[in-house]
Amino acid sequence: MHELSVCQSFLAQVERIALAHNARTVDKIVVRIGPLSGVEIPLLRQAYPLACAGTVAENAELVTEIQPVRVACETCGAETNATVNRLLCGACGDYHTRLLSGDEMILASVELNVDAAEQLRDAG
């Protein structure tokens, strides 16, 4: 149920980045989500249009990249796939594992639409 506030939070970041680059609009926002982050992608997608209305990202495409749940075993050293409520080592079954991925909620990148003149000035 906090997907709307998650949207509002990353849109605030996107707006700041857009402003820093003098971007007119944002074309694309890429987020990386793992199942253990607590963020539900379908809910995030539902909340997104509501949150982005009236912002510089109003027409931006939201790309959600799902991250796999993977663990590294501290006992046998294997790196294996796991599931959200069974984070045991896939090789030896031990529970002394470290999560390698699966709990991400990251704003990975944004694609901005900037004026060509602006780009030229920045580049020079």
Partner: protein, 280 residues
């Protein structure tokens, strides 16, 4: 602080994300910017600020999470009774409505700030920040934050506290760690509350509850206790003493600690303790 991913655009690293920097143009008039920042970075920055504030005054902040009715407030009442002579305690209470819990705790002689969240199902760092301003931190040792009763959302928000305590009352069933992995993975200690009912609740198996927690690769301590009969309370109190001593030791060394789940920071920045924030 993060010159590898450019997550903080400053005059020092701006060249990376501007012009012909490492973030190449994708097409005419388009710029792709790599960000790699937590989706909740707004919250996380506030949390870092809160924690710095608490550390400055040597306050240990403990966040209590559980379903509604698992016994958070009753546990706090008993805990306050047992620790009042040793520590100066205050509580921040989160509920959708009512001041009931804050009134109960004030009756125990401690300051209690009620946050009514309206329809929000969790506390966030900004709400806690506002509440902190209503407390005299210089006159505190131990701050409990009683989160909104909910096994889902509170787990994802860093409030600026140091430790997460997750309560599971035995009436809820021993399968909860398997059903709510995000919450139970975030715990620094799991308390099985209402343990006085265990003899009549055959369905609840402490071993099974613990096994479900271990399946989440969690090595944290699990304590059974009852706030009503006070069985097992001393173990929990000892844990708090231990945590308080560790906090004081950390502060002498100028260090702090974040609650157990610190998802992005460590991985993004490659080394432990290097948070994407002012903490470094």
């Amino acid at each position: 602080m993060c010159d590898t991913c450019g997550c903080n655009v400053t005059p020092g690293n701006e060249h990376l994300v501007r012009g012909r920097g490492k973030h190449a143009f994708t097409a005419e008039g388009k710029v792709a910017v790599e960000v790699l920042e937590s989706l909740l970075s707004e919250n996380d920055k506030q949390a870092v600020h809160n924690r710095a504030h608490l550390d400055k005054y040597g306050v240990l902040a403990v966040n209590l999470m559980s379903s509604p009715g698992a016994g958070k407030t009753t546990l706090l009442e008993r805990t306050i009774d047992l620790l009042r002579d040793e520590y100066r305690i205050a509580v921040i209470e989160g509920d959708l409505e009512t001041e009931t819990d804050a009134l109960r705790l004030r009756a125990r002689g401690v300051a209690a700030i009620q946050i009514t969240t309206g329809s929000a199902c969790h506390l966030d760092a900004h709400m806690v920040h506002d509440a902190l301003h209503k407390l005299r931190l210089a006159e505190l040792d131990l701050l409990f934050i009683e989160n909104v009763g909910n096994l889902v959302c509170p787990a994802s928000f860093d409030l600026g506290h140091h430790l997460n305590v997750t309560l599971l009352s035995v009436t809820e069933g021993d399968d909860k760690p398997a059903k709510y992995p995000v919450m139970f993975r975030a715990a620094d200690v799991m308390l099985l509350t209402k343990a006085d009912l265990l003899p009549v609740i055959e369905e609840f198996d402490v071993g099974r509850a613990t096994a479900n927690l271990r399946n989440l690769a969690s090595t944290i301590p699990v304590y059974s206790l009852s706030s009503k009969t006070e069985q097992g309370m001393q173990t929990w109190i000892n844990w708090l003493h231990q945590q308080m001593a560790m906090q004081r030791k950390r502060l002498v060394g100028g260090e702090t600690m974040r609650p157990r789940v610190q998802s992005d920071g460590k991985r993004l920045h490659g080394k432990e303790g290097a948070a994407p924030s002012a903490e470094a």
